[in-house]
């Protein structure tokens, strides 16, 4: 998948786990949690959805890569290049 496709996957996941949020103005450089109501359980939902969709296992020590949209896409791009 291309970075743009991965970004759309994350948007789709966020729409599912935070259905009250308007994601149209999401800033890719700013932490998700500063722009929307996301707690640790929601964050685990992102990890879980990626696991279900692409069988990707994200180890806990890598969770800090999933802070912003940009850092998330950067982290996932090499891992999902064949997805």
């Amino acid at each position: 998948m291309s970075p743009a496709e991965i970004r759309q996957v994350i948007i789709d996941i966020l729409e599912k786990i935070a259905p009250d949020e308007d994601l149209s103005s999401l800033n890719d450089e700013v932490a998700f949690r500063e722009q929307m109501e996301l707690d640790s359980m929601d964050f685990l939902d992102i990890v879980m959805e990626l696991r279900k969709l692409y069988r990707i296992q994200i180890p806990e020590e890598d969770y800090h890569h999933l802070v912003t949209m940009k850092s998330t896409v950067d982290y996932l791009t090499p891992r999902l290049k064949d997805a």
Binding site: A18, P19, E37
Partner: protein, 416 residues
């Protein structure tokens, strides 16, 4: 019956919030009970396909966000809706209420089956890889979930718990509230019974295996307690929740008082996992009457538990005949004939749907009795059409459940 008891020991219901398969507030529910409107509809459940059920259609987004609904459970949503509606109806200045002194006590028949079934199904789509089992499973399935969701939604910091009491649970929620208020553990209780049971296929499948799942070409005719041609239970969801207060508090704030709890009792058959026992039911009814300080003749309406199983209906009829056989003025009705069996919510909804009779002088019927079972032929049954009855002052509500648990609650029209 309440003479000599101080106002601080008398317990009253002051606000009502409910969702039933045929109504999302007390006025709508009552109107449909008087008009013979059923809430039973065709329904699809996992693995089994077409069944019949009592399905609620309350506005889930009235007091919760979409995310709250996703995070929580269906019964949590039912509870949040009913609790907020009860507070609104109570006239309490909620912002001024000390939330440390509010208790939430909700009766449930079962909890956790829905989420567990959902997750087992989900991992089955992933070759039973448990690494995709949701981290939401535990908070959704802990037994206090519905009451806990109410506290989170409403900022209540007093005690909360659910009371697991099979299908006797609706009464048990009110009884717990009355006891906690009398002990002065809390100053306000939000109490009743709730159920999400139609969202688990297991309850349908289990009743079917037991030969006790109702079927009928016309869904509205499927739930037929006391009828010779009944063939089992219609599973329903719902919730009935009240604000419960000590009388002196209710009077001090000029509250509308729906009813006073004057007696209650719970006991156990100690006999069988599923079969009821009329002897213990009778004992439970008599114990509640004794505690209320009244006789069978003082009761105006008996809200029966009957679920439309042969043995259940007949056993309860025996108990009622023994207690009320010489009380011709008692009227006996049944709410499950309209909405099916709302499990943990059943006792609460069945009580609440009768309370407006204090004002409208009418006893709603038990519907769908085309051929009365001779073994259930109680003279006082109100069959198929509501009956006018002057000066209704006292309602006795039966709720019985599996493992032989019986509960009886008696309420009275409030007067000084």
């Amino acid at each position: 019956m309440t003479q000599g008891i101080s106002h601080s020991e008398r317990i009253v219901l002051t606000g009502v919030g409910l969702t039933a398969p045929n109504g999302n507030n007390l006025a709508e529910f009552r109107q449909n009970l008087l008009n013979g409107v059923s809430g039973v509809v065709p329904y699809q459940t996992r693995y089994m396909g077409d069944v019949l059920a009592g399905v609620c259609n309350f506005d889930t987004l009235k007091y919760q966000k979409k995310k709250d609904l996703r995070r929580g459970t269906r019964v949590g949503s039912v509870s949040v809706y009913c609790a907020n509606e009860a507070i609104l109806d109570s006239g309490l200045d909620w912002e001024a209420v000390n939330r440390d002194r509010v208790g939430v006590y909700l009766g449930i028949t079962e909890h956790g089956n829905v989420e567990t079934e959902n997750e087992v199904y989900e991992i089955s789509q992933f070759q039973y890889d448990t690494s995709v089992w949701t981290h939401h499973h535990n908070p959704r399935t802990v037994a206090n979930n519905p009451a806990g969701e109410v506290t989170i939604n409403m900022g209540i910091t007093g005690p909360h718990l659910t009371i697991g009491a099979a299908c006797a649970a609706g009464n048990a929620g009110f009884i717990q509230a009355a006891q906690m208020l009398k002990l002065r553990e809390v100053d306000l209780a939000i109490a009743g019974g709730v159920s999400e049971s139609i969202h688990t296929f297991g309850i349908f499948a289990s009743f079917q295996s037991q030969g006790a799942l109702a079927r009928h070409d016309d869904p509205t005719k499927a739930s037929r307690p006391f009828d010779r041609d009944r063939n089992g239970i219609v599973v329903a969801e719902g919730g009935g929740i009240c604000t419960v207060e000590r009388l002196d508090d209710a009077l001090a704030r000029g509250a509308k008082i729906y009813a006073e709890i004057i007696g209650y009792a719970m006991n156990s058959d100690a006999k069988d996992f599923v079969l009821p026992d009329s002897n213990r039911q009778e004992q439970c009814i008599r114990l509640a009457l004794d505690r209320a300080g009244i006789t069978p003749d003082d009761v105006d309406i008996v809200s029966s538990h009957a679920t439309a199983t042969e043995q259940g209906d007949i056993e309860e009829s025996k108990a009622l005949r023994n207690v009320f056989g010489k009380s011709p003025n008692v009227a006996i009705n049944n709410t499950k004939s309209f909405i099916g069996h709302a499990m943990g919510a059943a006792g609460a909804l069945e009580l609440l749907g009768n309370i407006p009779s204090f004002e409208d002088d009418t006893v709603h019927a038990t519907i769908n009795v085309d051929h009365l079972d001779p073994e259930c032929a109680l003279d006082q049954l109100v069959l198929n059409h509501p009956r006018k009855k002057a000066n209704i002052r006292c309602i006795l509500n039966n709720s019985f459940g599996m493992l032989g648990i019986n509960s009886v609650l008696i309420v009275k029209k409030f007067d000084e």
